[in-house]
């Protein structure tokens, strides 16, 4: 039966069927053959999966992200990052990393981060004489690293799957996220010195003051969102709704780059993105139910335990699997297809599910950047108009840096758990 389930799934996906519907159909076939009973559980699983308050953060963060993206927040944050680091070797490439990290503290989507920051920084880097391939690679890698920085939509989805607190996951992403960003910047620094990348004059105090003043409303947002969540004032979902209204207000009335007539379009586009994720989650619930009925995770865990009961071997296998999957599958698809199988196994190996989640998300971050299927890579390439195959060379060292940081995150749980332990005392 398990063979039927995965066989049907593989055939449908290889025939270019939408992954969400392929999951639903394969599960239905397996259930129909197995139980021969009524399939009324199908609509029930779909409904109860989506009828969840924590998941509501997904459409709200998508919406907030697109308001910020179109509302001119990206440009102000780039200006701010610019006055802070532009005088360093490879300054503008570092600006990309810094601005992406700040932007991702208010946005939950890595694609939105890469689009908002890339659309401003890629033309600027080209003007300064960076090669288009390098500019594209830096924007893509920064977007991938940003997935760890809270808030993050994939963390919301993982929390829903693993039944762990979204707040704890957000808190846990801090150190690994900023450490990865710092590692990318160090790599950029040394590459820039070796290859003589252009630098700019250090910003004057007046310029710095101006940039801070202009970006202040945008900078207040992470204080409200993250402060609200970690201070226990709002849930993640509520903070997302606050972010939507704050984002609209800033974009409409302060920066005035968003007009009322843009709103319907943004609402509908966000609904489409929500629909893509929503259908995947509904079908994933059906798939997860069948997996549990067939005891797939249990059998797999026993198979692995028979070979080795080492937690490290398990973690290495999981990382290898996720990295390969990340090349071909989108982040949400990995979360719903592969992670439900891994979660019960991680529990059996006694791995903290918050730590496991951050490790999974760090893998997804690399998956955002690895060709052939990498959302951030696509976004960056579509801005720079650089063909994907030429970006791969400058991208490789950046990916290696991210992989090295992933290894640290995977094997040193303390790095991840220090902030949530401090905040939530667990």
């Amino acid at each position: 039966m398990t063979a039927l389930l995965f066989g049907a799934l593989a055939i449908l996906i290889l025939l270019n069927a939408p992954i969400s519907l392929a999951l639903g159909l394969a599960s239905t076939v397996a259930a129909a053959v197995q139980a021969k009973g009524p399939l009324l559980f199908l609509p029930q699983k779909i409904y109860t999966a989506l009828d969840s308050f924590p998941l509501l953060a997904v459409p709200l963060f998508i919406l907030a992200g697109s308001f910020l993206e179109t509302g001119g927040v990206g440009r102000r944050l780039v200006n701010l990052a610019n006055v802070l680091v532009r005088h360093l070797p490879g300054g503008l490439a570092m600006v990309v990393v810094v601005a992406t990290m700040i932007f991702s503290e208010v946005s939950g989507s890595s694609a939105a981060d890469a689009a908002a920051i890339g659309s401003v920084t890629i033309p600027a880097m080209l003007r300064l004489g960076y090669t288009p391939a390098f500019a594209t690679a830096v924007v893509a890698a920064a977007g991938g690293a940003a997935v760890l920085i809270p808030p993050s939509i994939v963390a919301v989805i993982y929390g829903w799957q693993a039944n762990t607190s979204v707040g704890a996951l957000f808190a846990a992403g801090f150190v690994p996220g900023f450490a990865t960003a710092l590692a990318l910047m160090i790599y950029i620094y040394f590459t820039a010195r070796r290859r003589g990348f252009p630098t700019e004059a250090k910003a004057t105090w007046a310029e710095t003051g101006q940039a801070i003043r202009e970006s202040l409303p945008a900078l207040l947002m992470p204080v409200i969102i993250l402060g609200g969540i970690f201070g226990g004032f709002f849930t993640a979902t509520e903070s997302a709704a606050v972010a939507v209204f704050y984002g609209i207000a800033v974009a409409l009335f302060y920066y005035k780059e968003l007009t009322w007539t843009d709103l319907p379009q943004i609402l509908v586009e966000s609904a489409v993105t929500t629909g893509i994720v929503g259908l995947l989650l509904g079908m994933a619930a059906v798939f997860g139910y069948i997996l549990t009925t067939l005891q797939v995770p249990l059998k797999l865990a026993n198979a692995i335990l028979a070979v080795s009961d080492s937690r490290w071997v398990f973690l290495i296998l999981v990382n290898a699997l996720l990295l390969v999957a990340g090349c071909f599958l989108n982040a949400t698809a990995i979360l719903v297809v592969i992670v439900p199988i891994l979660l019960p196994m991680a529990e059996r190996f006694g791995i903290d599910l918050v730590h496991f989640g951050i490790m999974v998300i760090a893998n997804l971050g690399i998956g955002y950047v690895t060709p052939p299927v990498g959302t951030c890579l696509y976004v960056a390439c579509s801005i720079s108009k650089e063909p994907l195959d030429r970006v791969i060379r400058p991208l490789m060292p950046l990916l290696l840096v991210m992989a090295a940081m992933l290894a640290v995150v995977a094997f040193v749980p303390e790095i991840t758990l220090v902030v949530p332990r401090w905040l939530y005392g667990k």
Partner: protein, 168 residues
């Protein structure tokens, strides 16, 4: 939104679809705005009025089920759902067409099945009331049959286009 149908005259199916796709877009836009407002209202009632109302959370959850499933209809229409085209792109064209027809046919059957089961489930929960608003659970459940019926319609439209393409 590019219309990729290559027909000389607008087909009945296409006319019907445009007729019902605009309300779906409208509904999605309104639902998104409503969700943000309702959740914001929940924060507002807790901190400003100092007592939380129960219904905003429940209403927001029902609205989310609707926007997630109706958004999926729009995404199917725009071919936005994640898929992998690596293998099917490598196949010879006639074989690829036949396999695409078989794949869409099986997905159509699945969508119709869930639409039908969803209708059954919606009717079955008619008497059950939600805890805070005390409205029928059918209001939420109805999103499943409505969405899957719309997706089935879109799938049928694509299938029809495939079949015409094969015949030519």
């Amino acid at each position: 939104m590019a219309e990729s149908s290559r027909g000389d005259r607008p087909s009945v199916g296409h006319a019907l679809w445009t007729l019902c796709t605009h309300p779906v877009e409208w509904a999605c836009g309104v639902l998104m705005a409503a969700i943000a407002t309702v959740v914001f209202l929940q924060v507002f009632t807790r901190y400003v009025l100092a007592y939380p109302w129960g219904w905003p959370e429940e209403l927001a959850r029902i609205l989310f089920v609707w926007v997630a499933l109706l958004g999926a209809v729009l995404a199917l229409r725009r071919a936005g759902h994640f898929s992998i085209d690596a293998l099917s792109g490598a196949l010879p064209v006639p074989l690829r067409r036949r396999l695409a027809v078989a794949m869409r046919l099986s997905l159509l059957a699945f969508l119709l099945l869930v639409a039908y089961l969803g209708l059954q489930a919606t009717l079955r929960v008619q008497e059950q009331l939600t805890t805070a608003m005390e409205i029928s659970m059918s209001w939420g459940y109805a999103a499943v049959p409505v969405s899957f019926a719309c997706m089935a319609f879109e799938m049928a439209r694509r299938l029809w286009r495939d079949l015409r393409g094969c015949a030519q």
